[in-house]
Symmetry: C2
Subunit: 233 residues, 2 copies
């Protein structure tokens, strides 16, 4: 019995990973983090994607375990970043040359919580959609970081947990292609219509690549990726 | 300007570390975690120790920055352990041969939060009172784990943060001795009277080694340590 825990945010990447997990594991749990996102739309989309996925593939979703959301709201008081505050700018920070949307160590905390939960429920794999191909300047998403953290977590829990990163070296076009390979055009449509990636929390206008403002770094990546994906098909 | 962030729980170890930090750094912040301890006395003692320390050494405490408590209450729902639930037993867990008081990965999450906060406030050292001498079976307190986590955190934040563990190889007697070396008999008395270590949250009877039930593993260690310390003097 192979149990996986998917770090699931309701965005394109983790939603693709969730379906990947259902295809490759016997039992799949999900975990999310409410850490003071500027836009609660992200949390809402998590639930809606799961609902839509259950409609899309009822049989496979029988493997789906409970969804857990960890309250990390006090995190936003600890750190300052464009993603948790209303600074509205995505430029590079003078201090460290990292994007101002970089929340220091955010992903490390997510994965530490996930590891703790995985240990408790007896899952031996954590799946996360982080990657270093569409490089946004987040050092906590790099392969080297994830491998170092995997080692630290296993030493700290005397465990043999694996952190699987199916998208580590895929750009957004390849991630759309992966969705296509997993569930055809219909699953790509599900991703387009039922996931949220926009930093601005814009979720009113549906473009062919999905909802979003179309101008924040996250929308630009997704839009460009979708256009490249269409050329591949 | 050397800034340190002390992971401070209000227990003997981290309280000793706090005074150590004040003696060795120019500016000292403190961070604590409310993670669903069975006994809120631990959180109360944090505040009281800081107040008592300010009375004890007014001059040195001018270096003391704000104290932050991170709300991790949802953590208790994720994991099951004697320290967060009312199971009341401290035996070894059949499943993994670790004490039932082991909260999987707890210390890894604490340190990840601390790193994130240290990054934000510009502290380049985190000080934590964990140790492997009085070995309670917690793998997340071992030197090897801390060093691996330090590496992962620095990769993930592109930082050069140091995790300092002044008590890593000290048993409780040596920790009392360290308190004595830092601030004499008067500081040992402060530690005895103003810190809390007991798993049971017992804080009514003051023994010569401190408050506590006297029979939980944590009290037994502290009591034995104090008796050995007295012989050293």
């Amino acid at each position: 019995m192979k149990k996986a825990l998917v770090v699931f945010s309701g965005g394109q990447d983790s939603s693709t990973c969730l379906y990947y997990a259902l295809k490759n594991y016997d039992y799949v749990y999900t975990i999310g983090f409410a850490y003071g996102q500027r836009h609660s739309i992200e949390m809402k989309c998590r639930q809606e994607f799961i609902k839509a996925l259950k409609n899309f593939d009822k049989e496979l979703c029988k493997k789906l375990g409970p969804d857990r959301v960890v309250d990390m709201l006090s995190f936003k008081d600890l750190t300052d970043s464009a993603l948790t505050k209303d600074s509205g700018s995505y430029e590079l920070n003078d201090k460290n040359n990292l994007p101002t949307s970089f929340v220091p160590g955010r992903n490390l905390i997510f994965l530490s919580y996930a590891a703790s939960y995985a240990y408790t429920i007896g899952a031996d794999t954590i799946i996360t959609g982080v990657g270093q191909a569409d490089y946004s300047g987040y050092p906590d998403c790099r392969d080297e970081t994830i491998k170092a953290l995997e080692k630290a977590l296993n030493l700290g829990m005397e465990s043999n947990l694996k952190i699987e990163t199916p998208l580590m070296f895929k750009d957004k076009a390849q991630t759309f292609k992966m969705a296509y390979d997993l569930g055809g055009r219909a699953f790509v449509d599900l991703i387009v219509r039922n996931t949220h990636t926009c930093y601005e929390g814009e979720h009113n206008v549906l473009h062919d690549w999905g909802y979003g403002c179309g101008i924040c770094p996250s929308c630009l990546l997704r839009k460009k990726g979708y256009e490249e994906f269409k050329k591949l098909m």
